[in-house]
Symmetry: C2
Subunit: 146 residues, 2 copies
């Protein structure tokens, strides 16, 4: 049997998992990654935040740094999000035995591959915000869904 090319393998994976199907595990995964906190954690660890050090490079961040970067996130939500991303293998959690211990988070290669996509969502939201505010105003004044 001939070896499959990368494209064929991707096509097969797509055929096996289909997020349009209610019971496909990829539907649940899509739900998990479709989350603003996931988008913001990945953006921060992928170093898209306005920070002096090299943008575009993955970087390791402490819990407290992430918490500050993601303004308004609750401790419960941030902890849950980080644990779920660690469980899925998108980031690593490293505990250094200082006093007190230092806990840092860093994207894995799998996390970096998702980061590229999620970064686009954040930039898209920021870039098209003006147009969308205009559209909403128009919709609301013309009566919208009639």
């Amino acid at each position: 049997m001939p070896t499959m090319t990368a494209a064929q393998k991707r096509a097969q994976a797509k055929a096996e998992y289909d997020a349009f199907l209610a019971n496909c595990p990829s539907r649940q995964l899509l739900d998990r990654i479709s989350d603003k906190w996931v988008a913001l954690v990945l953006a921060a660890l992928g170093s898209d935040c306005p920070h002096p050090d090299g943008a575009g490079e993955p970087r390791s961040m402490r819990y407290s740094e992430l918490s500050r970067q993601l303004a308004g996130v609750s401790q419960k939500m941030l902890t849950q999000t980080l644990r779920s991303l660690e469980r899925d293998g998108l980031l690593t959690r490293t505990v250094t035995p200082t006093v007190p211990v230092t806990v840092t988070y860093e994207l894995t290669n799998l996390g970096l591959s998702l980061h590229g996509l999620m970064r686009g969502l954040k930039v898209w939201a920021e870039t098209n915000m003006d147009d969308i505010l205009t559209n909403r105003e128009k919709y609301d004044t013309t009566g919208g869904a009639t």
Copy 2:
């Protein structure tokens, strides 16, 4: 004053809106678009669904077709999602006065620009599902967050 280049305009838009900030409207927009139903509606209307007609082309779909494509979606959730996407100017809703009336949905150019990104999320979830299931198993057997 010299005219801004497209890149400068994008940089300015990014500076004006910052989803890392709790009160920035783009944070709320990122929350709105980070949604599995949004991802699946855009994927369906962008014709990524397994359907005979030309994949990659935007297409107009009836409510009932969308409802069938997005297996398991409730009528309430689908209606809310479509209305919100229409209000944001990502899709158009066309009512044709047949008996009974025909209501169709189609992506706008703005919707198509987001479709490209969201499509990537669905494909990413389907492509990496196996790796992620393996990672979860490993995390759960080694005790995970210690």
